[in-house]
Amino acid sequence: MSHKSGASGSYTLSRKAKWFSSWNSYLFVLPALVFMVIFIGFPLIYNLIMSFQNVNVYNLSGKHDFIGFANYMKSLKDPVFYTALQNSVVFTVLSLFFQFTIGFALALFFNLKFPGRNLFRSLMLLAWMLPVVISGTVFQWMMSGDFGVINYFLQTLGIIDHPINWLSEGSTALLGTVVANIWIGIPFNMIILLSGLQGLPDHLYEAAKLDGANRLVQFRHITLPLMRPTILVLLILGIINTFKVFDLIFIMTSGGPVTSSTVLPIYAYQMSFTTLEFSQGASVSMIMFLILIVISIVYLRMSSKEEVH
């Protein structure tokens, strides 16, 4: 009723603003906020507190003492931590490099006009959308030593002369998970880069053509500079998402043999759920979290600089 009378009277700006800003606007965000505080904020704080305590499976329901940075020191003294850190870096760098370059090449290709390209483009996304458990299992089968089809292809092509147990040999296990992760990540990189490419203005290329610039010159001097913001966002998102990959490696190798494919998330999992040293695990995930925060800050810095340009 009151709304109606307000509308029939003079409809002032302040009334309009009031309608948007009155207290019941908060009711729209409240459920989501309450959820996030309980199920995200609280566990995060709990994790932080635990990382400074001595909680393990034996004293879980009892009293816990604060032990300062002891868990962090212990993690930082564990040689496995450094193996995991190194594996994480190798996994992330190799995955991203190939996901990005292959994804970019495919994006350039699918940016050409030919029949069927929309269908192909969507089909590729299917690989990205499959649950990681499924892709991981399929790659495990393809990479198996005796009857794996990858060994068959490589032997037929003459690249290797005897079958390799890709996932059960220390020297190749991490590489095997990287290959599977590259496959999973290519479509995402391709789609994002493709949508960036499609936003580039045609007239620049036409002008360049008139000036006699060949494709390579066009790519270097038009495509790359204009794609810079997209590429930056994609790479940073890629680093964050690849650094925290857990399922794929857990399914394919469980971090083994021994620790040869143990990355930081696997190491944190083993601390928390295998040896049941909860506080120790909490300290590892806090360190991981700090690394991701640093990367994100670098990202924010870079993207704000981008905006200035």
């Binding site: 709304h3 109606k4 409809y11 309608w19 800003s21 009711l27 729209f28 965000v29 459920p31 989501a32 906020l33 959820f35 996030m36 199920f39 995200i40 609280f42 566990p43 995060l44 709990y46 994790n47 635990m50 909680v55 879980l60 495919l106 290709f109 006009k113 030919f114 029949p115 390209r117 192909f120 969507s122 089909l123 590729m124 996304l125 299917l126 690989a127 990205w128 959308m129 499959l130 649950p131 990681v132 299992t137 399929v138 089968w141 393809m142 009857f147 994002i192 949508s195 966002v233 994609l234 964050i240 998330p265 944190a268 999992y269 928390s272 759920f273 909860f278 995930s285 925060i293 994100s296």
Partner: protein, 277 residues
């Protein structure tokens, strides 16, 4: 004229070749699932199916019904994740896009940074919290955990859909006698249906594909989803890859169905969710 025709035919041909190479793992999964055991260990392997059989499907879904239970659980978890994500994210995304509330920037930054959290970092505190309130081995517990990733995604993806609506819709609704809530449900929501479809599909996929929370927050088969069933199956059956691939294919089927039927929404959602931040 003919030159461009040749070029576009060449493009299609190369495209087909890329598809064959890239989608080979998916093909190999389906092919292995219909391969009889005797063929499975044939060396060299046959790339095309020889003597296809549905034996492994019958083994795993008719004779042994464990997998049926896992599939049912996956549906409950995925549907629950989708419904709860939409219920919480839709009004929140609307308010963050079109209403004036204090702390909007802070909320957006928090939502964005939640996406950065490693799953394992959440799994351990959730495990301890949930064991104190009987949410371990509980569908609700798994759905809540899956929302950690799907809710921020849903908010971030939906907000641009609300932003893109023309201004003045609410004023018009108000003149027609709507209040803030009825204008939202009656006028605004029908206009963002494509966004709801995209987000709904993705949240379902998140719930269906979750592994880390299923691994850490369940201990009984009563609530375990198919992803965990498949994983346990690897340990149990070792190298019976035809059985494993039959289960994997069936686990992939809902994804393929959603993908094919909602292609338009899904492709849009990938770019929207990732870049609108």
């Amino acid at each position: 004229m003919t030159k461009t025709k040749w070029r576009s035919a060449g493009g299609t041909l190369i495209g087909i070749l890329i598809m064959i190479v890239f989608l080979f793992p998916v093909y190999w999964m389906v092919k292995t699932s219909v391969t009889p055991v005797t063929e499975l260990y044939h060396n060299p392997p046959h790339i095309l199916p020889v003597a296809a059989t549905f034996e492994s499907y019958i083994n795993n879904f008719v004779r042994n019904q464990d997998m049926i239970g896992y599939i049912g659980n996956s549906f409950i978890i995925a549907a629950g994740t989708m419904i709860l994500s939409l219920l919480l994210s839709v009004p929140a995304a609307y308010a963050l896009a079109r209403l004036s509330i204090k702390g909007k920037a802070l909320i957006m930054i928090s939502v964005l940074s939640i996406q950065m959290l490693p799953g394992i970092m959440m799994a351990m505190p959730l495990y301890i919290m949930f064991s104190k309130v009987q949410l371990i081995d509980n569908f609700a517990g798994l759905i809540f955990a899956d929302l950690i990733h799907s809710l921020p995604f849903a908010i971030i993806t939906l907000r641009p859909f609300f932003l893109a609506l023309p201004g003045g819709l609410e004023e018009a609704a108000k003149i027609d006698g709507c209040n803030k809530f009825t204008s939202f449900t009656k006028i605004i929501l029908p206009l963002v249906k494509p966004g709801l479809m995209t987000v709904g599909a993705f949240c379902f996929l998140f719930g269906w594909g979750d592994f880390i929370f299923a691994l850490t927050l369940t201990s009984s088969n009563e609530v375990r989803p198919l992803t965990l069933g498949l994983y346990r199956f690897i340990g149990q059956y070792g190298t019976e890859w035809n059985n494993l691939m039959a289960v994997a294919t069936l686990a992939a089927l809902p994804i393929i169905i959603i993908f094919v039927s909602m292609q338009k929404y899904v492709v849009g959602g990938v770019t929207a969710g990732a870049m609108k931040d």
